[in-house]
């Protein structure tokens, strides 16, 4: 089982744990360079704890001790720092126990579909922890895998280690499912699946097994695909569907390799060994021949996009990406439409045809009823017209360099682009720098500052013009997706514009205050657009999730269109998003475990019809404590986030925050009422299951997140963009987005910032709790939420550190704001840059976070912004984590 617990315990011991108070001990300085920074005279002055923190900063050592600093050894002083024993499913004892029971073959009768009165296997054990006693929260728990799915060894026909779904592809909020709906209701925990069919932008970074012989064995009744958890009956001629229990014939070709024309062993087949497989579909699975990949770029050519250099950067990036756009079969097509108050079409003749014919520009002023001026050459095959496309793209910025038109008829351009590609389907990529103010679907400036922070703020997050919803419906009919890259320097109504990507399986990317004159901005956009265009996107896809009898897929969350009650349609299927499916229990489940299967029928960008099938098997239980002990806090957070975003968009931010708070409170109340036998009373401690102990922190962080927090300062565009990310990010990235990683760099251990000896990957420093208490005035810190990086420089940072990292003599010379760390030839600088590069590296996201250098003595606005990421602290509108827990305890005890 891939989700078996990692030995977090031992990993935790490796590094000094800065967040705990061990001021009586030696500081965990390990790097001689770091020791040098600390040993300087300035160091002594910074010995006071930073105000506002609850804990003494780890580095608060009185001056005299610093002479001994150099001799401090890693692994020495920090023994016993871990204030509380690490409970939970990773406790060696628990793991050993689960392992033993697994080997003892307990409950050997619990095959698929065998009725089991009680669960025969011991599931994960429940460990209580006192939340208020476990301060600071052990944030390394956030990177732990979910509680293991404990299945009888007979569950899988092949017993392959890859039988059950890896959690990055599919994870359930409950890794032990209640057998009855009443138990589910009683638990107050949500039951949902977090599904991510693709875990990387390119197939080659995470290859998936392919079933290539087009033998697709499915249940006759429920249409489930055969999977590692079915049972073969009657000497293997039949198989019993594990969803609906129907007995089906095994196809004759199942034991025969049609490609090599020899007999083969069915137990070697990929679909019986792997939980994630791609089936190559026979022609029956096609409504039409596989369509080519089509990209139409709608480019803003108004003065707004000329002034900030957007058009030039966009065009150059497209040009550079032409070779990276998937085009294995040579059928990929490209089109371009420029828009200001007119529509500008580009007719691109095929390069081979006639060398005299040059790309030409056709301007149509009719924006109320857009039409295509010429029938052909507007959408051209990339391979045939490569030179002319290149030629056009090189000239395009100059063609409009003198444009002074202020308007943007984006809706009309979208309609035109739709007309252009609707016979085939594909992606419309909008790159726009202003509010669409003329033509179809024009929007108004409605960002009234006096609404912010009030109940009316919710209306600013809703779609202002119904065009953006009705157009999304039209797009779905013709298999068209829309992606938005938004760059306005002022209000752009992201809320309305993001409706299109939301319902056509696209994505919204907002670049506030972007300008090509800043190289960091240009690099960010170029990188992200390039990655976006080169990802192996799937086309004409539908997602269906099937569960064992008794389970029903109730609601779906993410960017797509619900074509029927249980079918999500994706004109194009992006690889960097994830989806949440709420499951309800309609009938009592009488199996000891149940399978759930997701299937994405799609056309690959290489022109092949395929089905990606992911199967997960989850044990069931009749006991509330099992449900709690196997709940996955990260998946629950993903579910709560989706619900909160839905609430924010439909009934306002206040309701969304209220929902989060209430959900958490009822969970804690249920836990106290039904699972705690002692400590009942008004002064009882706030207890929770160890595997859920980070949930309160995540919920608290979510309430303080830019998309949801109570504030009158956040422009509605930023909120909308935040909500878009919250509702699409895959679980691991979502956790980081809600609860950023926080590293201390000036005193990081030796190995941090250097490549690991085993994997060759850069080792990151240990994570710190997000509180100002962990920030020493002489320190250097990095905050990473996956979208933005902050490099925090303390006001007493020693010149040596500044010199090494930034190459300037003192703090006053460090340029704050959006910047990069210069390349210098010293180990500290290289390690810092390696860590930043590691934070930016991603094979499954297109995002390239900008780095902001924040000086503690510098711009207060920037400093304040960075400190909103310190989510364990109190802010003007929200409680600190400790206060939040105290408030929860009071609510639970009353």
């Amino acid at each position: 089982m891939a989700s078996q617990g990692a030995p977090a315990h031992s990993r935790r011991r490796l590094y000094p744990q800065q967040q705990y108070d061990f001021s009586a001990q030696q500081p965990p300085v390990v790097d001689p360079a770091a020791a040098a920074y600390s040993a300087s005279p300035i160091y002594g002055q910074s010995g006071q704890p930073v105000a506002g923190g609850m804990f003494t900063p780890a580095t608060a050592i009185p001056g005299p001790v610093s002479s001994a600093v150099g001799s401090a050894q890693i692994g020495g002083p920090q023994v016993g720092i871990n204030p509380a024993p690490s409970y939970g499913y990773n406790t060696p004892g628990a793991e050993a126990m689960a392992g033993q029971f697994g080997q003892m073959n307990l409950g050997a009768s619990t095959g698929a579909g065998t009725p089991a009165a009680a669960p025969a296997l011991p599931l994960n054990s429940l460990y209580n922890i006192d939340l208020l006693h476990q301060m600071p929260p052990p944030i390394n728990d956030l990177s732990l895998p979910p509680p293991p799915l404990i299945l009888p060894p007979t569950a899988s026909v092949t017993n392959s280690p890859d039988s059950n779904a890896p959690y990055e592809y599919m994870r359930s909020t409950l890794n032990a499912i209640p057998a009855t709906n009443s138990l589910l209701k009683k638990s107050k925990l949500p039951f949902a699946l977090v599904i991510r069919p693709y875990a990387s932008l390119l197939d080659k970074s995470k290859p998936v097994q392919v079933v290539g012989d087009t033998v697709i064995c499915r249940c006759r009744r429920c249409r489930a695909y055969i999977n590692p958890f079915v049972q073969f009956l009657e000497t293997g001629n039949r198989w019993k569907c594990n969803m609906c229990n129907l007995t089906n014939e095994v196809p004759s070709t199942f034991d025969f390799n049609v490609i090599k024309n020899i007999a083969s062993n069915r137990y070697d087949r990929a679909e019986l060994n792997h939980s994630v497989v791609d089936f190559i579909a026979p022609p029956e699975y096609m409504v039409r021949p596989p369509q080519p990949l089509v990209y139409v770029f709608v480019l803003d050519i108004s003065v707004n996009a000329i002034k900030n250099g957007l058009l030039a950067t966009a065009v150059r990036t497209i040009q550079e990406s032409l070779d990276r756009i998937p085009n294995k079969d040579g059928r990929t097509r490209i089109g371009l439409i420029g828009v200001d108050s007119c529509l500008h079409y580009f007719s691109i003749p095929a390069s081979s045809e006639d060398y005299v014919s040059e790309p030409s520009l056709l301007v149509c002023p009719d924006i109320e009823d857009p039409f295509l001026p010429v029938p052909e050459n507007l959408l051209v095959t990339l391979s045939n017209s490569r030179e002319n496309i290149d030629n056009l793209l090189s000239r395009l910025p100059d063609m409009f360099a003198q444009n002074t038109n202020q308007n943007n008829a984006l809706g009309s351009a979208l309609t035109a682009a739709y007309k252009l590609i609707s016979p085939v389907g594909g992606k419309i990529v909008c790159i726009t720098a202003s509010l669409p103010n003329v033509g179809i679907g024009k929007l108004e400036f409605r960002d009234d500052k006096k609404f912010l922070g009030t109940n009316k703020e919710g209306t600013l997050l809703q779609t202002a013009n119904s065009f953006y919803k009705s157009f999304a419906v039209d797009c779905n009919k013709q298999q068209v997706s829309v992606d938005m890259f938004l760059f306005s320097s002022s209000y752009q109504d992201v809320a309305s514009l993001s409706s299109l990507p939301r319902f056509t399986a696209g994505q919204t990317h907002l670049y506030p205050g972007w300008s090509a004159s800043r190289s960091e901005d240009a690099i960010k956009f170029a990188h992200e657009l390039g990655e976006h265009l080169s990802q192996e996107v799937a086309l004409e896809a539908v997602l269906r999730v099937r569960g064992s009898t008794g389970l029903r897929m109730n609601a779906f969350y993410g960017n797509f269109f619900n074509r029927s009650s249980d079918l999500c349609s994706f004109p194009t299927f992006p690889r960097d998003q994830s989806y949440v499916v709420e499951v309800s229990i309609d009938e009592t489940i009488n199996k000891s475990w149940v399978p759930i299967q997701s299937a994405v029928l799609h056309t690959t960008c290489h022109g092949e019809r395929r089905i990606r099938v992911t199967t997960i098997a989850i044990p069931t239980t009749n006991l509330l404590q099992d449900v709690y002990a196997s709940a996955d806090q990260v998946a629950i957070t993903a579910y709560l986030t989706q619900k909160a975003v839905e609430k924010a968009l439909s009934s306002g931010l206040g309701d969304a925050r209220e929902y989060l708070q209430t959900s958490l409170t009822t969970m804690l109340q249920t836990y106290k009422k039904d699972l705690m036998t002692t400590n009942v009373g008004a002064s009882a401690p706030l207890q929770f299951s160890a595997n859920l102990r980070m949930l309160p922190l995540l919920v608290n962080a979510l309430i303080k997140h830019v998309g949801l927090r109570k504030s009158a300062q956040i422009p509605s565009d930023l909120r909308s963009a935040g909500l878009c990310l919250l509702s699409t990010l895959p679980a691991v990235h979502l956790v980081k987005y809600i609860h950023p990683d926080f590293f201390s760099l000036h005193d990081m251990p030796d190995e941090a910032g250097n490549p690991s000896e085993e994997t060759g990957e850069i080792i990151l420093p240990p994570k710190l709790n997000l509180t100002a208490g962990n920030i020493a005035t002489h320190g250097l810190y990095l905050i990473n939420d996956g979208q933005i990086l902050f490099l925090w420089v303390g006001r007493d940072a020693v010149p040596l550190l500044i010199e090494d990292v930034f190459g300037v003599p003192s703090l006053q010379h460090v340029k704050a704001g959006k910047a990069e760390v210069p390349e210098l030839d010293n180990p500290m600088n290289q390690r810092v840059r390696s860590i930043i590069a590691k934070c930016r590296e991603s094979k499954d996201q297109i995002t390239w976070p900008n780095l902001y250098i924040v000086r503690e003595d510098g711009d207060p606005a920037l400093r304040l912004w960075a400190s909103t990421f310190l989510i364990e602290d109190k802010s003007d509108q929200a409680l600190s984590y400790y206060q939040f827990l105290g408030q929860l305890r009071d609510k639970v005890n009353n």
Partner: protein, 138 residues
């Protein structure tokens, strides 16, 4: 037929139309839930009926108001205000993009309206007969 009898005969007809409309809506929503119709077609079809439905109900209300049947108007008021408010705030149309999340509420709304118009149908019938009987007595 005298004036009051005419008005309640009219209200009888309107109630009957409303009953059929709401039954139609409810059936369509159930069809959607059991996937007999896709959301795009459903919204396209039903959205044609939303405004006329509110319009005839409003017309009925106006007739009651002008003729001074304030009690009849009063019992129509809750639903009438609800409908008019939806039109006024411009969210009366069904939205295919989130219909699966709102269909339960739409169905509930149709049921409530159906129940009300059934009661109101018999109320109108009673008032019409009473008016006719009164006229005969003179």
């Amino acid at each position: 037929m005298n004036g009051p009898a005419c008005i309640f005969a009219f209200s009888l007809v309107i109630s009957a139309i409303e009953i059929f409309t709401q039954i139609f809506f409810t059936i369509m929503f159930s069809d959607l839930e059991s996937d007999y119709i896709n959301p795009i077609d459903l919204c396209y079809r039903l959205n044609n009926y939303v405004l006329p439905e509110v319009a005839i109900h409003t017309f009925l209300g106006t007739v009651f108001l002008l003729n001074g049947y304030f009690f009849s108007l009063l019992i129509n008021m809750p639903i009438l205000t609800f409908s008019i408010n939806k039109v006024y705030t411009n969210n009366y149309l069904l939205d295919a993009t989130d219909i699966f999340k709102t269909v339960r509420n739409h169905k509930k709304e149709s049921f409530v309206k159906l129940g009300f118009f059934l009661v109101f149908f018999f109320f109108s019938l009673y008032r019409m007969i009473m008016a006719l009987v009164d006229a005969d007595n003179i």
